[in-house]
Amino acid sequence: MRHTISVLVENQFGVLARISGLFSGRGYNIDSLTVAETLDPTTSRMTIVTRGEDPVIEQIIKQLNRLIDVIKVVDLTGVDHVEREIVLVKVVAQGEKREEVLRIVDIFRGKIIDVSPEGFVIELTGDEDKINAFVNLLKPLGVKEVARAGKVAMPRGLGKLGSVAKSVEKERKEGPELAGSSKGEGSGALPA
C-alpha cells in the first residue's frame, strides 16, 4: 500500500543523503520525495511517498526515527490530510489544437506560464489523479515534455504536523503496539 510520510529533519547538509541512503540501503522504495526549508530555517520538511506492506512501513518509520537528524516522522496515510503535486507541461500546438489546449487548461484550472507561436508551457497543481488525467488528455495534442514534482502534504484543519506527531512519538516509545501493523488482534495467545 502507498503511504505518504512527512519527516521533519534538521536543516543540515547530508540529511537528504542519510535518508535516501537509508531507503536504498535497506531496500525500501521511494516513489517520490520532496524537501524544502520550513518556517523555521533550522528545519526542513521531507514528504516521502513510499509503498510496502504494513510491517515494512512500520520499519521505515522506525528506521527514520533512528536517524539522529530526524526530529519527527508522521505517516499521513490514515490521518485526514490534503496532498498536492505540481506539474509543468510543454505542449506543441498550432491552429485548432491551440483552442483545444486552452479549453482543457481552463477546465482543470491550470495556468499558461509561457506562450510561443509553436505552443505553451502549462502549470497545474492538484492531486495525483487530477495531474494524471490532465497529462493524459493533453498527450494526443502533442505533449513534448513533462516536469513533475513530488507530493507535498499537510493534515486538514488547524492541527500542525507537530500535534499529529504526538501519537507517533508515543508509538516510538511503546514499539509497534500502536502502529496498527503488528499482529494486534492476532496476539490472542496473550489475554489482555
Binding site: 510491517p55 516509545k173 496473550l190 489475554p191
Partner: protein, 570 residues
C-alpha cells in the same frame, strides 16, 4: 578566556570527556593534533594498521563499558577504519573515531589523501560529522560521545579538516549536551511491563532469550535475580555470553546455529519467548517462518526498530534493559509467595522436559589421544585461568568452540565479532581489552586464518608490553569454510588451504614476543600455565586435529528443529 587552537580544543574536550587512552596512527592531516598530544597526559597507543586501532577501541569499550577512541589521518587512514566501524555498528559498540581531513578549501578537489569518509561511513555509523567551523568543534565532540554511549550504543565518526586544527577561537566547554531530535527512551512503559509479567505468569513453557543488550546495559544481576526468582530457563546469544553464570542450573547454553541442542530445542518449543536485549538474528531463529511456532513474544529493547523487525511481537517494551528489569523485579517482589510458588509448579513439567533434552544431547565432543582437539584447548584455557579471564575471539570454528565452552566469572568477559563476523577482530580487540582492564588475564582465541589478518599488531602489543595471550587453534585450514564444503559441497575443498603458513612461534619471536608451538596434547596445559606467568604478549600455536567440525549445527536456512547434534555415525 584564552584563545585555543582546534588541536588544543580537541585534546581538552577529550580530556574532559574522561578519555584516558587513544588508539591511533598519525599522518599529514592530523599533525597539529599529534603535536598537541605531546602536551597532554592522554595515553596514545600507536597501532600498526588503522583497522587495528578501531578494533582495539572496540575491545576497550566492550571490556570497560566506556567509549573507545580511535584517531587516524585522512584518506587511506580513514578508509582503513571502515571495517572496524561497520563491525562496531553491527554489534552496537560505543566508539568515537576521529579522522583527519584535507583543509576545508580543498575538500572536493581530489586532493592528496582526500576521501569522503563521512559519505563512506554514513550507512555504518550511528551518526557522523564533518566539522566545518572551529566554533562547532567542542560541541560536536561532546555530542559524538553522548550519541555513542546512550540509547543503543554505536560508532560515531568525526571528520576534522586540517585547517580547523590550527585555527583559533575562544574555548567554552559545552557543559550540557542537548539534541532535540535524539532522546532515547530509558524507562519502560509501566503498562507494557505489567503485560510482560502477566505473559510470563500465564506461560507454561517460558524461556529468557538474553542478548548483548544486557551486557551494554550492565544488567547481569537483574537478569539473574529475575530468572532465579521465577525459575525461568535462560539461554544466551553469542553476544550475550557472560551475562548469566555458565554453571547456573537454569542455564541452557548458547542459542543459534552452533548453540546447544537444549537451548535451541527449548526455544523452538516455548510458548513464551521473553527476549532481553537480543534481536532475533537469522543465526538464532533459523528459518523464520518455522521459528517457535507456538510462542508469544515479549521483547525488551532500547531500540524500537529492533522490535517487530523479524518476528511479530505481542508485548513490546522499549527501554533500557536494566531499568525495565528493575521495574519488573519490583512487580515480582510484590507478588504473594503463593503465586510465585504456583508459577514454579506450573512450569515444572517444562523443566522436566528440558532436563530430558539435556540428558539426551548434552554439549560434548569426542576427545582424542592421537592429537589435540581444538575444544580440548579451549576447555583448558578456562581451567588454567581459573575461569577468571576475558576472552576475545576472531571468526570461524574457534569462535564457536570458544563460545560453546565459555565459562568466565568476569563480567563483560566475552568479546567477539558477532554481527559483521570480522576475521582479524580478536587480536587487536584483546589488546584494547587488556589496556582497559590490566588486572584481568586476557586470552585471544583465534584461528590460523583470522590471526593472519591483523597479526601486525604483535608489534603494538610488544611496544606497550600488553600481556595478551593468543591461542591460535591452528588446523591449517580455513576451518569453517572447509566444514561447509565438507557438509554441503560434497567435500570439494576450494581455496581453504594456505600452503605457505608462517611458523607463528618464530613470527612472535621476530616481533619480540614470546612464541610457542604445541603439537602434543600433554604440552597444552604446561604451555598455557607458562604463558600465564609471562609478563608480556605470548603467541601459542596449537596444531589441532585438522578436520574437526563444530557441532551441534543448524544448517543455514533450516529450522531449529532440524538441528544436527553430531557427525553421522560411522
Amino acid at each position: 578566556m584564552a584563545e585555543m587552537t582546534g588541536a588544543q580544543i580537541f585534546i581538552e574536550t577529550l580530556r574532559r570527556e574522561g578519555v584516558d587512552t587513544i588508539f591511533g596512527y598519525p599522518g599529514g592531516a592530523v599533525l597539529y593534533i599529534y603535536d598537541e598530544l605531546l602536551n597532554s597526559d592522554i595515553r596514545h597507543i600507536l597501532v600498526r594498521h588503522e583497522q587495528g586501532a578501531v578494533h582495539m577501541a572496540e575491545g576497550y569499550a566492550k571490556a570497560s563499558g566506556k567509549v573507545g577512541v580511535a584517531l587516524v589521518t585522512s584518506g587511506p587512514g580513514a578508509t582503513n577504519t571502515v571495517t572496524g566501524i561497520a563491525d562496531a555498528y553491527m554489534d552496537s559498540v560505543p566508539i568515537v573515531v576521529f579522522t583527519g581531513q584535507v583543509p576545508l578549501p580543498l575538500i572536493g578537489n581530489d586532493a592528496f589523501q582526500e576521501a569522503d569518509i563521512v559519505g563512506i561511513t554514513r550507512p555504518c555509523t550511528k551518526h557522523n560529522y564533518l566539522v566545518k567551523d572551529i566554533n562547532d568543534l567542542a560541541r560536536i565532540i561532546r555530542q559524538a560521545f553522548f550519541i555513542a554511549k546512550t540509547g543503543r550504543p554505536g560508532p560515531v565518526l568525526v571528520d576534522i579538516p586540517k585547517d580547523i586544527t590550527i585555527q583559533k577561537t575562544e574555548y567554552t566547554y559545552p557543559e550540557e549536551v542537548r539534541l532535540r531530535s535524539y532522546n532515547p527512551t530509558v524507562e519502560g512503559h509501566m503498562g507494557q511491563i505489567k503485560r510482560g509479567l502477566r505473559a510470563i505468569l500465564q506461560s507454561r513453557r517460558p524461556i529468557f532469550y538474553v542478548g548483548g543488550g544486557t551486557v551494554y546495559s550492565s544488567a547481569e544481576e537483574e537478569v539473574r535475580a529475575l530468572a532465579e526468582k521465577l525459575k525461568v530457563p535462560v539461554a544466551l546469544t553469542l553476544m550475550g555470553l557472560g551475562s548469566f553464570p555458565a554453571h547456573h542450573p537454569q542455564f541452557l547454553g548458547m542459542l543459534g546455529m552452533h548453540g546447544t541442542y537444549t537451548a535451541n530445542t527449548t526455544m523452538q518449543n516455548a510458548d513464551l519467548i521473553f527476549a532481553i536485549g537480543s534481536r532475533f538474528d537469522d543465526r538464532v531463529t533459523g528459518r523464520l517462518k518455522d521459528f517457535a511456532p507456538h510462542a508469544s513474544f515479549v521483547h525488551v529493547d532500547i531500540d524500537p526498530s529492533s522490535i517487530g523487525k523479524n518476528v511479530i511481537t505481542d508485548v513490546p517494551i522499549v527501554g533500557d534493559i536494566r531499568s525495565v528489569l528493575r521495574s519488573l523485579w519490583r512487580l515480582v517482589e510484590e507478588m504473594p509467595k503463593s503465586e510465585v510458588a504456583a508459577f514454579h509448579k506450573q512450569i515444572q513439567p517444562w523443566w522436566d522436559q528440558i532436563h530430558t533434552w539435556n540428558q539426551q544431547h548434552p554439549l560434548k565432543y569426542e576427545d582424542s589421544e592421537e592429537g589435540i582437539k581444538a575444544q580440548y584447548v579451549v576447555e583448558r584455557i578456562y581451567d588454567v585461568a581459573d575461569e577468571n579471564l576475558l576472552v576475545t575471539t576472531d571468526v570461524g570454528q574457534h569462535q564457536m568452540w570458544a563460545a560453546q565452552y565459555f565459562r568466565s566469572k568476569q563480567k563483560k568477559s566475552f568479546i567477539t565479532s558477532g554481527g559483521l563476523g570480522t576475521m582479524g577482530f580478536g587480536f587487536p580487540a584483546a589488546i584494547g581489552a587488556k589496556v582497559a582492564r590490566p588486572d584481568v588475564p586476557v586470552f585471544c582465541i583465534s584461528g590460523d586464518g583470522s590471526f593472519l589478518m591483523n597479526m601486525q599488531e604483535i608489534g603494538t602489543a610488544v611496544q606497550y608490553n600488553v600481556p595478551v595471550k593468543v591461542a591460535i587453534l591452528n588446523n591449517f585450514y580455513l576451518g569453517m569454510v572447509r566444514q561447509w564444503q565438507e557438509l554441503f559441497y560434497q567435500r570439494r575443498y576450494s581455496e581453504v588451504v594456505m600452503k605457505a603458513m608462517p611458523d607463528f612461534s618464530k613470527l612472535a619471536e621476530a616481533f619480540g614476543a614470546k612464541g610457542f608451538t604445541i603439537k602434543k596434547k600433554k604440552d597444552v596445559v604446561p604451555v598455557l600455565k607458562e604463558a600465564m606467568k609471562i609478563d608480556g604478549p605470548v603467541i601459542m600455536d596449537f596444531h589441532v586435529l585438522r578436520e574437526e567440525n563444530v557441532y551441534p549445527m543448524i544448517p543455514a536456512g533450516a529450522s531449529l528443529s532440524e538441528i544436527v547434534v553430531g557427525p553421522p555415525e560411522k
